[in-house]
């Protein structure tokens, strides 16, 4: 390998390296832009959840006021049952493979919430089954 060839080669290498560095910079930029976008998406996410919450409050207001007073007891029982959707939290705690304290807690939560879910829906059904029209 003569010195000229080597020099040439090293020059090419240097240019390539420079190009690579440029590319790296560009990619880094892109990546940081993406992070920006992602952060924006994340804030939008809280915003969506909040919007959902606000609308759900309106729905709750209207749907509960539309319940006939005669069925306020079943209403209490059924809200009791559906508020046990918190069982979702218990399932996630009881789900992992390793047995630990948290899994035991999850089991307890699932058990208690199940009492409520079954009990709440069944007692509601029992109450509602008694409401009959004049024959």
């Amino acid at each position: 390998m003569n010195s000229a060839a080597i020099q040439e080669q090293s020059a090419t290498l240097a240019t390539n390296a420079a190009k690579l560095a440029e590319e790296v910079e560009k990619l880094a930029q892109d990546a940081s832009q993406l992070i920006d976008v992602q952060t924006a998406a994340a804030t939008m996410d809280f915003l969506s959840l909040f919007t959902i919450f606000v609308l759900a409050c309106f729905v709750g207001f209207y749907v509960v006021w539309s319940v006939t007073p005669a069925l306020h007891s079943p209403l209490m029982a059924v809200t009791n049952a559906i508020s046990s959707v918190i069982i979702v939290g218990g399932l996630l705690a009881a789900g992992p493979a390793d047995m630990d304290f948290s899994k035991v807690m999850g089991f307890c939560a699932v058990t208690l919430a199940s009492v409520n879910i079954f009990g709440g829906f069944i007692v509601t059904q029992r109450m509602l089954g008694m409401f009959k029209k004049k024959k």
Binding site: D45, L49, I52, F53, V59, G60, F61, V63, V64, V67, T68, P69, A70, L71, H72, S73, P74, M76, A77, V78, T79, N80, A81, I82, S84, V85, I86, V88, G89, G90, L91, L92, A93, G95, P96, A97, S102, K103, M105, G106, F107, C108, A109, V110, T111, L112, S114, N116, F118, G119, G120, I122, T124, M127, L128, M130, F131, K132, K133, K134
Partner: protein
Amino acid sequence: MSAQLTGFAYLASSVLFIMALKGLSSPETARQGNRYGIIGMVIAIGTTLADPSVVSFELIIAGLVIGGAAGTIIAKKIEMTALPQLVAAFHSLVGLAAVFVGIGAFYNPEAYGIGTFGAINTGSIIELSLGLAIGAITFSGSIIAFAKLQGLMSGNPITFKFQHMLNAIIAACIVMLVITLVGGQTEGVFWSLAILSFAIGFLIIVPIGGADMPVVVSMLNSYSGWAAAGIGFTLSNPALIITGALVGSSGAILSYIMCKGMNRSIVNVLLGGFGGDTAAAGGASADTGDKNAKAGAAADAAFLMQNASKVIIVPGYGMAVAQAQHALREMCDILKAEGVEVAYAIHPVAGRMPGHMNVLLAEGNVPYDEVFELEEINHEFATADVAYVIGANDTTNPVAKTDPSSPIAGMPILDVEKAGTVLFVKRSLSPGYAGVDNPLFYSDNTLMLYGDAKKMTEEIVQALG
């Protein structure tokens, strides 16, 4: 299941929960509504079980089976008169479940994707500790409410010196502990928070009288709804947020309706010292003064109603206690067979929980289209020959309209005094839940029928037959 599918499944279950409440707008659609609610719950549970992080099912199935069996048995066995305490008991379970979820999340935050043990995201630790605190308060508060309603402890308000100050101090400690937890997540602080929350739930509820418990239960229900919504934010789970908002609104609106029906403010209820055993201790005879109440026998009542063209039945707490609904329906059947028009008038706060009377009458096979709300039927008392007031008292007390200084002043009242004759079925002249004497007992067109609501009604049935 893909993230998107999971999201749609949770949305579907929320919509089904909304439909469940929507169904309750009429007895005809209510059963279908309840079925929607059940489907919604199945979807929510199924979706969570399909989560990739849920890999071990033994404990989950055990929990579902044990809890489900217990819940089923309780729900099938329970007497309808015991509904208020049942709701309180179920309610305490939700609270305790929330506490367990909180503890589980504290020790294994990875399962929820909110950080690692001792290093949970700031937002999540705040939401988590608030969820824990509200859950604990709901639990201990509901337990006391249950004990008072079930008669396991005296319904009397338990008051002592510096009570409010003690509560304030504990509340301040709770706030400080939450703040400390944000700084450093030590187990000691976490457990102190849990214990103090249990304590304050207990202390807030003991000074409140037994009869006010339904308002308290409903209010705690509302809190727990908002807490569930908070947890929904932590888990980015719209189903929890929507359900939480539904339950929160429901509890708040029912508390509001009860307070309005009693013409009291929620603060007044919570400050306590009202509505103790006066209602429960009805057996003791009250001070009748020198006024005169006419007493009648079952035969008199039978004669009066047989010859009436229209009788309005006004049931109250005493009917529930005596379980008189079946006898009452039997009596009305006989009257209807003889051509008497019969209707039932339900005051918004008759009994001890909203809608209580309606469920009991339905249990007694009274068709719901014979049962009317206060506004629907109040103008009809003027055209009724007999008002048959069975175990109701405060809800018929005209003092609410005449004496602005009375504790029940301004409370809407069923105008039974406008009926030709008012029959009061109760065991004595003692006042009802609010402890206010009822001047109607001494009115000229009133006849007192002393005795247990069920026995007296059965006697009337015999006299009619």
